[in-house]
Symmetry: C2
Subunit: 240 residues, 2 copies
Amino acid sequence: MSEQPSAADEIMDGVYRALRAHGYADVTMQDIADECSKSKSLLHYHYDTKEDLLVAFLDYVITDSEARIRAHADDPPAERLAGFVGWFVFEADAVDREAFHIALLELRTQGPFNERIREQLVRSDRLLRGTVADILESGIEAGTFREVDVEETAALVVATLDGARTRQITLIGGTDEGSADSESGGEGDAPADGLPEPTYTRRVAEAALRRIVEPILAEGVALPSLEAGIDSMTRDDDAE
Amino acid sequence: MSEQPSAADEIMDGVYRALRAHGYADVTMQDIADECSKSKSLLHYHYDTKEDLLVAFLDYVITDSEARIRAHADDPPAERLAGFVGWFVFEADAVDREAFHIALLELRTQGPFNERIREQLVRSDRLLRGTVADILESGIEAGTFREVDVEETAALVVATLDGARTRQITLIGGTDEGSADSESGGEGDAPADGLPEPTYTRRVAEAALRRIVEPILAEGVALPSLEAGIDSMTRDDDAE
């Protein structure tokens, strides 16, 4: 991720690639060691178990998200909110990112059974909802947004984007993408304009901007475009 | 499910209970046989592999959902939509339903890798979005809803409710519920009125009704309550 990565960064990058390639249930310490060119015994020196390493990885991913969110803390509130929405948009060719989020979704299903994983999921949930709430609060103060129920709006926005992402990644085939795209891309109608169908996340992100964000903008405030939002949060690093 | 269940119904009920108890990754044909008091060889006579049985189970669950949706096809459109929204609400004590949906979420993570599972997921997605689109179309025709982009609204509503459910079930502890509830229930504020925090799905369902459904109601049409929606779809059978 950075130019001279630390050993810890290299290991985390190995977890990221191993999860993408093998999924959560099947990934082994050996797979991770192979992906980061470390020995398995070195990994075990730092992390007793696969669970320890995966919890450390979740911590790393969430810490990275915190830093990305912080980097945009001074953007104007409407742009910040569009950036947050755009962050969840996957294009149809984002195969690596999809594979990673499928592995994360597998990890999330362990939440009820594994307190350490659940602690990280709760932390992530607080970060995401807290970020939207913070954007809304500063935007209300700045006169960008109307007075709204900040916590309710935050829960709504986060659930909506998470649901769109889950649906997109689970409905698209990893191996036979052509056929799966045409199955899952939309409502069974070929696009009349010859453009590709928007992905599930793009369609829902567009809808969320117009149906949830636009109605809470103060009089005269323009709705930022989804494209600008996608650019601001996503383009610098596709690892999230 | 019915009073004199068929062998197939008994097996599907066994799958349901075995998935709840063991999860998707760990469940075995023996677990399922135990839960429905059949022999493992009888199960193998009907279903070659665990995958065959789980695909048949997905088919069964979706067919059941189709029937439930059909049973409400003649309800007034606004009530139907509130019923659809209410269908996703889990109360904090719905432990069996949560365990089942965690297993379903595990199954969903197999979508990219397993075409037969993915076919069922795509079918479910079409059913859910198609149902909302159908409700909206008939409601626009009946003068209940304003003219809206039906497909966009359907994708938005389904993603929102799915996301809320995923967040609720993954953030709540299966074993140490007391502590998990207080962690995941809300925004860290104790409820001022002494009532329990609403669950994630209830909070988002309330928000979806007021923020997504209410603005598309035609002039003078009253928003049905979430409680009425929950009653209409959920109470008769807690299996889905």
